[in-house]
Symmetry: C2
Subunit: 134 residues, 2 copies
DNA sequence: CCGCCACTTCAAGTTCGCTTGAGGTCAAGC
DNA sequence: GCTTGACCTCAAGCGAACTTGAAGTGGCGG
């Protein structure tokens, strides 16, 4: 279980072979070589792909993901940049928290119109404040 | 300040007029009417747009957003569905937290290769576990 | 009353992240 | 040696979410 070809990677990760070829093409993953025409992937590809899917769920583009934990040895970016990224994610977590609270509130609040409910109005206010002030 | 036309909405929210027309076209926002050809928007459009941008940041499609807090009186969806949505968002928050910790770790950890660091490996394990088990 | 200009429509174009399809290659098993 | 099947390439297509451009309209200040 050292070297995998594309089908095995696809099977283990759930990422379709066509997507893997695409990722290879744009340099998001790298095959360790070829046997004939066939791409051969190292086992690290497996966890790289979970990072990628994590990043995608987080709403980052493939380019941004590539910039975060690129090919080789997981990142050579300046610490500063990484921390900035982390801060962005923190903001996003806050946004998501507001959204979640909003949905739960809407699900449970008995007020006739949500706009009449002070709790809802408060969430709305938070939602429309710029990220910098949250 | 009761009725706004598209340019004012654009200016106040930062959402380009072209996007507003598109949102109108797909029924994500609704103009209160027309003056001549010009769309007129009520003031509620402003906060609706902040909810929309919140939803977008959260990675929902415009369709999903429309389903969550549609046009009229902010949602007529079954509570159950809303709670399910909220739960999804909770999962996403967990994913983002892992990703953030990962980035901060990578920024600070002095280990020569991250794979040798137990903390990193633990985060990796979490990252590759299916959402249901997190 | 006239012209300006912010709006309008509609069609086409753009980027992202893939998928699909046609046609080709090659290693392995029969 | 031949077939099979999993891979390959390359081009085209696709849906989402808009943007851009051309050509038209109509309300309002002068």
């Amino acid at each position: 279980m050292e070297i995998l070809d594309i089908g095995e990677v696809a099977e283990r990760t759930g990422v379709p072979a066509s997507a893997l070829r695409y990722y290879d093409e744009i340099g998001l993953v790298t095959s360790v070589g070829r046997r004939g025409l066939r791409r051969q992937f190292g086992p690290e590809t497996i966890w790289q792909l979970s990072l990628i899917s994590l990043g995608k769920k987080a709403g980052f583009s493939l380019k941004e993901i590539a910039a975060m934990f690129g090919k080789a040895s997981v990142v050579e970016l300046p610490r500063q940049t990484l921390h900035a990224r982390a801060d962005e994610i923190d903001n996003q977590i806050r946004d998501l928290t507001v959204l979640r609270d909003m949905l739960r509130h809407v699900a449970d609040c008995p007020a006739p119109s949500h706009l009449e409910c002070p709790r809802f109005r408060k969430l709305l206010r938070v939602a429309s404040r710029p990220a910098s002030r949250r």
